[in-house]
Amino acid sequence: MPISLPDVRGKRRAWVAKLLAFCLMMFTSIALNAAEKPIAIGLTPVFLDEQLSFLTRWQGYLERKMGHPVRFVRRQSYREITELLLNGELDAAWLCGFPYIQHRDKLKPLAVPLFNGEPLYRSYLIVSSTDTVTESIDDLRNRIFAFSDPNSNSGYLVTQAALKSQGQSANSFFRRSFFTWSHRNVVKAVADGLADGGAVDGYVWEALAKVDPELTSHTRVVQQSAQFGFPPFLTRTDGHKNALALRKALISMSADPEGQILLRTLQLDGFTLVPPGLYESIATLAEQL
C-alpha cells in the first residue's frame, strides 16, 4: 500500500540490504507482506474478552474504519501483552493503568473508555454471597484470597497497597492467595467458594452482572475502592501512524450507529482522549509497594 511506503523507507533500506544477500526475487513479496501486515492489537481481561463473536464483529468494524487489517492478540497475563507491546510485536494494547505507570517512559495512552460517562472505574472487594459477616478486608485475615493479575490495578494493586498501609502483604495477611489471570475468574473463584474473597475490576463485575447475573449473584460486593483511571489503550511512545488511526476509529465509535451497538455490548459509553494526570492515583499506589 502506497500510504505506508514513505514512513518505512528508512527501515526498508535496511531490509533491502539484508535481502540482497539472498535473492532479488524475494524483494517484491516481502515488501508486499510488510505492506499488508495487519495492525496487531493486544487484549487483556480488563473487559469481558471471552465473547468471541463480539471480538470478530469489533475486528471487522475496526478494519473497515481504518482500511487496514486488524489482528487481536490475547495472552494469559498482562505481563505477556505488555512485553509484546514493548517488543514492538503489538501496535497497541488494551491494558491496565498499572502497566502503563510501570512503563510510562516507553508507553503512551491512545484512548480511554468512558464508563458511566467518565474515564474512571473502581476496584471491588467481593466475598461469597453466603458470607454475610465480612464488612472489610480486615475480616478476611487468614483466609483464601483471589487476585486477578499481579499487573492489575483493581485486581491486585489496590488491595496490596491497602494491606501495605497496615504493614502487611498478601502473603502475610492471607492464609493463601492466588491469581486467576482474569477478573471474571476472580468472580468465579469467589462464587464457587475456592476463595473466601477477591479483588475485581468494578467495571467487569458490573458488566458481568448484566451478562451472567447467575454468577455475580453468588458474590457480594463488600467494598468499593476510590475511583481510578480506566484501563487505557496504550501504544509505544514511538508508535506510528497506525496507532493514530486506531485512536481515531475508537473515539469515533460513539458517533457511529454500528459502533454504538458494539459499545452497548461492551457496556461502555465510548472512548475519549486521555486527560492528563488520569493515572496519577495509580502511580501513588504503585509507589507505596
Binding site: I144, A146, R176, F179, D192, A195
Partner: protein, 487 residues
Amino acid sequence: MIPLLDDFSYRIKVPISLTLAILISGVVITGVLIARGAEDLRDELYDNAQDVGGVLVNTLVPTMRHDDLWQAYQILNGAGAASETVSQRMLVVIDLDGLVYVSNNPRSFPVNSRPAEFDPEFARLIANIKVDSPLTPQLYELRDDQAIYVTLPLMDDGVRIGLLIMGYPKSLLTPKLYELYWRVTLSTLAVIALLIPVGWQIGKRMVAPLMHLSDSMALIGKQPLQAINYEIPQRKDEIGRLGMQFQELLQALSEKERFEIQMIASERLAAIGRVAAGVAHEINNPLGGMMNAINTFKHYGQADPLTEKTASMLERGLEQIRDTVSVLLVQARPESHPFTQKDLEDIATLLKSDARKAGVTLNFSADGLTEAPLPSTPIRQILINLGLNAIRACTRGKEVVCQVQLKPNDLVILTENPGAEIPSEQMGQLFEPFGHDSPGGNGLGLWVTYQIVQQLKGEIAVLSEEGITRFHIHIPISNKNGVMADG
C-alpha cells in the same frame, strides 16, 4: 416335603415342583446377574477413575509445581463437568501435610483445610491410605462410607508431592443398580412367565399316565372289568412297567372272573343233573311197576274195547314218561365196543338224510379215524345231538360242518353252522334242560350232550358270533374212559 403336601395329587404336586424349580432357578440367576452387574459397575467406576486419574495427575503436577491454584482448579472442574453423573464425582488434591491443595468442590473441601478434622469419612480414608502406597490407583470401599474412593499419588520427577483422591458417591451407583435390578428382574420374570406354563404342561404330561393308571385302578370292584378301558403307556419307565403289570393284573382278574362264572354254571348244571337223576329214579321204579301191570293186563285181561283203549292210552303216556325220564337219566355207561368207523358211517347216513330234508349240505369228515378207544354210544349221542342241532339252526342252502378228529390224547369234535346267533342272554342257560326254545327238539339235546361230556371228563365250548355258531368238544382218552372188555 411338608406333610400336608403328601395328600395332594401328583397332578398338582409335579407341576408345582417344576414351577418351584423354575422360580428358584430364576431367583438364583437374578441374584447372580445382579451381583455380576454390581461388580461390573464397580469395575466401570474403577476404570473411569483410572482413566480420569491418569490424565488429571499428568496435568495437575505442572500446575502444582508452579503453584497455580486456579489452573489446578480449572483442571479439576473441567474433568468434573463432562456429564451430570461425573460432576458428582469428588476430586480432592491433598498435599504432603494432609491439607487440601485444591478440590472441585471448595465449599466442602476448602483450600488449605484439613479434611480429616471435619470429615470423619475422610479421616477414616486417610487412616487407611498406606504411606508408601503403590503408584497404581487404589480403591477404598469402606462399608459405612457415603462414597467409594480411588486414590492416586501425584509424583513430580519421582518425588511424591501430593495425593489425588477421587470420591464417587455410592448414591451415584444406586440408580444404576436400581435400573439393573429392574432390568434383570423383569427379564427373569418374563422368562419365568414363559417357562411356567411350559413347565406346568410338561408336569401334567408326565403325570397323565400315572393319573390314568390310578383312575383305572380305582374302577376295579366298582365297574365290570370289561368296562375298564386302560391303555398301556408305550414307555419303558416305571410308569410303563406299572401299566404292564396292571394290564396283567386285569387279565388275571378277568380270567378268574370267567373261571368263577364257569364254576357256578357247571355247579348249577351238576346240581340240576343230580335233582333230575334223583327224580328220574324215583319215577322209574313205580313207572316200571305200572308198565308191567298194563302189559299183564293187556296180555291176560278180558277187557271191553273202551278199557282196551284206555289201557293203550295209559301205556302210551307211560312210555312217553319213560322216554323223558330215560333221557334225564343220562348215563354214559361204558359199553363193550369202542367207537369205530362203522359208527361214523351210521351217523353220517342219519345226518345226511336230515340235511337233505332241511335243504342244507353236510360236510362230514373224520379223516383217518378207524377206531377210537372210547365208548361208542355216548360219542354217537354227542355227534347226533350236535349234528342235528347244527342242521336245524343252519340257514337254508348253506353248509354244516361236522368234524371228528382223533388226536394222541383226546378226541376232538367240531360242529359249525352258519345261521342266527344264539342270543347272549340264552348263553348262560344253554346247557340247562328246557333252558331255551328248541323248535323241533325236546329241549334236552344240549343238556344230554353236556352231561355226557362231563361224565367223560371232557370239555365243551360254544362260540356264536358273526353269523357262525360253533361247538367244540374235547374228550380225553384215558383208561377210565376206555372200553371195558365185555363189561
